[in-house]
Amino acid sequence: MSFDPATVAAFVDGELDDLTARRIEREATNDPALAAEIARHHALKTQLTAHYAPVAEEPVPERLRALLTADTAIDTSLAARREAKSARFAPIHWGAIAASLALGLALGLRPWTPAASIAEADGMIIAAGPLAEALDTQLASNQPSDAAVRIGLSFEDKAGRYCRSFESASLDGIGCHDNGRWHLERTMRGQAGADYRQASSGELAAAAAAMMASDPLGAPAERQARDKGWPRR
């Protein structure tokens, strides 16, 4: 074998110039030792790659993604907010509402089942039952880990209304407080518990970023707004 081990390794790593690489290839066809050495290096590379590949296939944990997507929602340029507006909401929107309405209606016929989470008033979709209660009272900074509805961000929109993003088993979305009701401005099928949850959280955060007039409320401001009953400015 007329090539030193470093050159063989460099060949396998694709680090050789074309001329030398071609010489190795040619020689390997007549030199079993060289061919075996190349195969050995290839085998190691393949084994390592295969071993670590599944890590890159795993869903990225929410706590990592949130570091980046939450920031996106909180302080972003105008351009970014505009970009977020085109997020994938529109197609899901009406389908999710229809599904939830149908569910709500069905549940409404059975008084012993939990109250529906959404209702219709004056042609608008509004929060009802436990969802309305969560939006009214639950603080993002202080909610039980097993809460049926999880509040995400609270913020003021450009019309001066308080809005809050939420996630629950059947419905995720953003509600804005107006005339004593939570108008559901954005809805999407709930993803609670599913692996898709992170995607949905990211989209909600992006949609919230597009709607907010300034930064989201911090814990004290959120508490204050709640205690005052989410008044419109």
Partner: protein
């Protein structure tokens, strides 16, 4: 594309690299988290037009080294390290070939840190020698010699044809 979005796209690969360095899955994600936080804090130091991935890998790797040093001072992991160093590299020849056949984690654990990171960057992440040298801030010759030693140890421990 914006900074955060590029980082999000990088996360799967970065987690893979971190897993190779830290080996334990939870430790690896902690490392990723620290790297993301560091990156967000020092984003002004990243120059638009240069490769964000190399920059992120460098941050991750440096944080890992810092942590290993701190752990070493505290005495954590130290016994494992010494054992690893004894078996690794030249000493590996004393261990029977193929002892760890199929056990990539076990074989990687026996590499010294500076060999493991090169193996990850070049053989797993697919960086060119020059790029790996830039990430690690060492001469290219250092990359090739560490890679050669790491490679030999792995091939020895994992057995010949894997």
């Amino acid at each position: 594309m914006r900074f955060e979005e590029e980082l999000v796209e990088l996360l799967p690969r970065l987690r893979r690299f971190a897993r190779g360095l830290a080996r334990d899955a939870a430790d690896a994600d902690d490392l990723c988290q620290a790297a993301i936080e560091r990156a967000l804090k020092s984003r002004s130091q990243w120059q638009q037009g240069t490769r964000l991935d190399s920059w992120m890998y460098r941050i991750t790797r440096n944080l890992w080294i810092d942590e290993r040093r701190a752990a070493g001072r505290r005495g954590v992991h130290a016994p494992i390290d010494e054992a690893a160093t004894q078996i690794a590299g030249d000493g590996a020849a004393e261990v029977e070939a193929g002892t760890l056949r199929g056990d990539v984690d076990g074989a990687m654990a026996r590499l010294p840190d500076e060999q493991r990171e090169v193996v990850m960057l070049v053989l797993v992440e697919g960086y060119a020698y020059r790029e790996a040298a830039d990430i690690l801030e060492v001469p290219i010759g250092t990359v090739t010699s560490r890679l050669a030693r790491g490679r030999e140890t792995l091939m020895h421990l994992l057995g010949e044809a894997a």
